[in-house]
């Protein structure tokens, strides 16, 4: 099915065949941030968590915020890839690979945040040897392991026909591509196996993904702390995750579209559809946030109100109102009218949401801890260079993993684009025809009409 002589999609293979100066410059900048992060972590590893701004009562800060943030972004792959595949949306074709790569790469970074947060990382194997399933952290470990496994499988299986194209077209890394191509020749039987496996994974990966961010939220909601012990946390976190995931995906799409000249494949219509999804998620996120805070405010429980006031007017007001601005006001203003300058508006909204969703995680974690129930004295959390370095290094490491991936494998699914050209139009036309009142059901012989 994949004819190696088909050169229409040369731009998709070009980044693998050639490497320009821009790549080395980008990697250089990323490595600088990663070194900062590594130095920061080494300082913490040798001297203890005291080099951060954490203290009693705010014993969780940047690292746990980052953990929730990065795991949240991992929901990009699931929503776009799985749901769009299941709903047979044709516009997904150039987008799915990028989404799936985000998920796999960011899960490593997200899980790493918890390891960075440990006071005794040398004892991390204790979670495996002596784990307790009553603890939400073990639910996290299990769920994220399942999601990571499923995402890698869900990324790899649809990559197989593309790897076969690389095996046949590209001169270098022969062994790698031959091995990973799993003997793909595009036969009918192989195609059937692949399609069935992708369909099963698309269905399986959605509940796993929902469970991941739900159990991440349970780390907070299973405690008794004010404004954490809330039943809405499960769905709230999932919605927030999908929200931030779409935003991260759009940023990645814009970046690689520019870097690799993919304007022919990632067109304004793709950004328009994703922008509309982002708008819907922004409104949904606002609805959950509003319900959460109105409930707290109306109930007027003293300990909850202490935390509430800390966010609304107290020391954390810049982050809270900044979150409202970047998660709701700016995206809605940018996305309601996507007529002209689609990509610019969608990019601005996405960058805004990425910042906003980090602020949202921060606003959930820190104000509750800094306002304990007993008259302990309010805690003010001031992160140090170590925590900033760790955040910068983590973001840079994620970006580096992503960029390296695009140098080895195609960042847009070549065979699915070709499938869209060869088969997609016809399939869609037939499907549309079955919707209309005058045509028979698909698969029914016309002679049976009128019985």
């Amino acid at each position: 099915m994949a004819d190696p002589a088909d050169t229409r999609d040369a731009p998709l293979i070009a980044p693998i065949e050639r490497t320009g100066r821009g790549f080395y410059l980008t990697v250089g900048i990323l490595l600088a941030f990663i070194v900062w992060g590594a130095v920061a972590y080494w300082t913490q590893f040798t001297e203890g968590l005291g080099v951060t701004g954490l203290h009693q009562p705010v014993s969780w800060g940047f690292y746990v915020t980052n953990f929730v943030f990065f795991i949240g972004i991992s929901h990009a792959g699931t929503l776009i890839s799985a749901i769009l595949r299941l709903s047979k949306a044709e516009w997904r074709r150039p987008v799915v690979r990028m989404a799936e790569v985000i998920t796999v790469m960011v899960l490593f970074i997200g899980a790493g945040q918890i390891l960075v947060d440990l006071g005794r990382p040398d004892r991390m194997l204790n979670i495996i040897r002596h784990g307790r399933y009553q603890s939400p952290l073990l639910w996290d470990a299990t769920s994220i392991s399942a999601y990571l496994t499923a995402s890698i499988v869900y990324l790899y299986i649809p990559m197989i026909p593309d790897i076969a194209i690389l095996r046949d077209r590209v001169g270098k890394r022969k062994l790698l591509y031959t091995v990973l191509a799993m003997g793909w020749r595009g036969t009918v039987h192989q195609q059937r196996v692949l399609n069935r496996a992708i369909a099963i994974m698309a269905v399986l990966v959605i509940p796993i993904a929902v469970s991941v961010h739900t159990v991440v939220s349970f780390v907070f909601s299973m405690t008794l702390q004010p404004m954490w012990h809330s039943t809405i946390f499960g769905p709230y976190f999932v919605v927030g995750a999908i929200f931030s995931g779409i935003a991260a995906l759009i940023v990645a799409m814009v970046a690689f579209r520019k870097a690799y000249g993919l304007q022919g494949y990632l067109k304004p219509i793709h950004f328009r559809y994703l922008g509309q999804l982002l708008l819907v998620m922004s409104l949904l996120w606002f609805y959950f946030t509003f319900a959460e805070y109105l409930t707290g405010y109306y109930g007027n429980e003293p300990e909850e109100m202490k935390v509430f006031q800390a966010k609304f007017t107290g020391p954390y007001w810049p982050f809270f109102w900044g979150m409202a601005l970047t998660n709701f006001v700016i995206p809605v203003l940018c996305l309601v009218r996507l007529g002209r300058r689609t990509i610019g508006k969608v990019l601005l909204a996405s960058l805004s949401v990425t910042v906003g969703m980090w602020l949202e995680r921060f606003i959930i974690v820190v104000p509750t801890l800094s306002n304990p129930r007993l008259p302990f004295g309010e805690g003010i959390y001031a992160p140090t260079w170590v925590e900033w370095g760790e955040l910068a290094g983590s973001l840079a490491l994620f970006a580096l993993f992503y960029v390296l991936f695009t140098k080895i494998f195609p960042v847009i699914s070549i065979w699915e684009i070709r499938e869209g050209r060869d088969v997609g139009l016809k399939e869609v036309e037939e499907r549309l025809r079955t919707y209309l009142p005058d045509t028979p059901e698909a698969g029914v012989v016309p002679a049976a009409r009128g019985h």
């Binding site: 001297e47 009693q56 006071g119 005794r120 204790n126 304990p372």
Partner: protein, 227 residues
């Protein structure tokens, strides 16, 4: 089976913090230094909290000595991922430093903020320390243990002398040190003990009782005319 608990009479407490100092001396609680203290990292297994008067700000209304409350339904043990903190059959919530991975989930879950963390390597070998209590390394959580080492000592002594443990032999450092005798420690399941009697006083109340943690440190509110 014993059920160790404590009664603290707030009417007797003067806020002198002798209990705090005795606890630190007994349990090798490290001084963290002025710089770390300013950053909010003081380790104080027994801590005297002060409730300020709502009307006259700055005026202390009540001193609240707060050890670990050794809850019967502890929120901290539920969330520990590695069995580093658990409730033993005698009701003491134990902390195992060798198992703790320093995730600080128990600190986030405790509604009384009774848990403390070693943000640096605060403890050093120094003369004059209590040999019965192990030093904590960097990166683990620690908290009040109801001076459990004293119970072990009393049991060993009784075993050696082939007799039962006398309830008066096991007393926590804070209870022993309090000059106002505000802190009473003992077996809540022993009808003859003083804690048993005081726990049933009409002045008795439990801190944050509505959370359902079932703490075994019971407070006696101030007498008539106050509290």
């Amino acid at each position: 089976m014993a059920r160790w608990g404590m009664v603290i009479d707030l009417d007797r407490c003067t806020g002198c913090q002798a209990c705090v100092m005795a606890c630190k001396a007994e349990n090798n609680v490290p001084p963290v230094g002025a710089k770390e203290a300013a950053r909010g990292r003081i380790i104080s297994w027994m801590q005297v909290l002060t409730e300020e008067d709502d009307e006259h700000s700055g005026e202390v209304k009540r001193f609240l000595p707060r050890p670990c409350l050794h809850c019967d339904d502890p929120p901290c043990t539920k969330v520990c991922p590695v069995y580093a903190t658990y409730r033993n059959p005698e009701g003491i919530v134990a902390q195992i430093y060798a198992r703790c991975i320093g995730c600080r989930f128990c600190m986030a879950a405790c509604p009384y903020n009774a848990k403390y963390f070693n943000w640096h390597r605060y403890q050093k070998d120094a003369p004059g320390q209590n040999p019965d209590v192990s030093l904590r390394p960097k990166g683990v959580v620690e908290k009040c243990t109801f001076c459990h080492h004293r119970l072990q000592r009393a049991r060993e002594r009784a075993l050696g002398e082939r007799r039962e443990v006398d309830p008066a032999e096991y007393v926590t450092a804070c209870a022993e040190a309090c000059p106002a005798r505000a802190i009473v420690f003992g077996d809540l399941s022993d009808p003859g003990s003083e804690v048993f009697r005081l726990a049933r006083s009409p002045r008795a109340f439990r801190l944050l009782e509505e959370l359902g943690t079932k703490p075994k440190v019971i407070y006696l509110s101030e007498g008539e005319g106050r509290g």
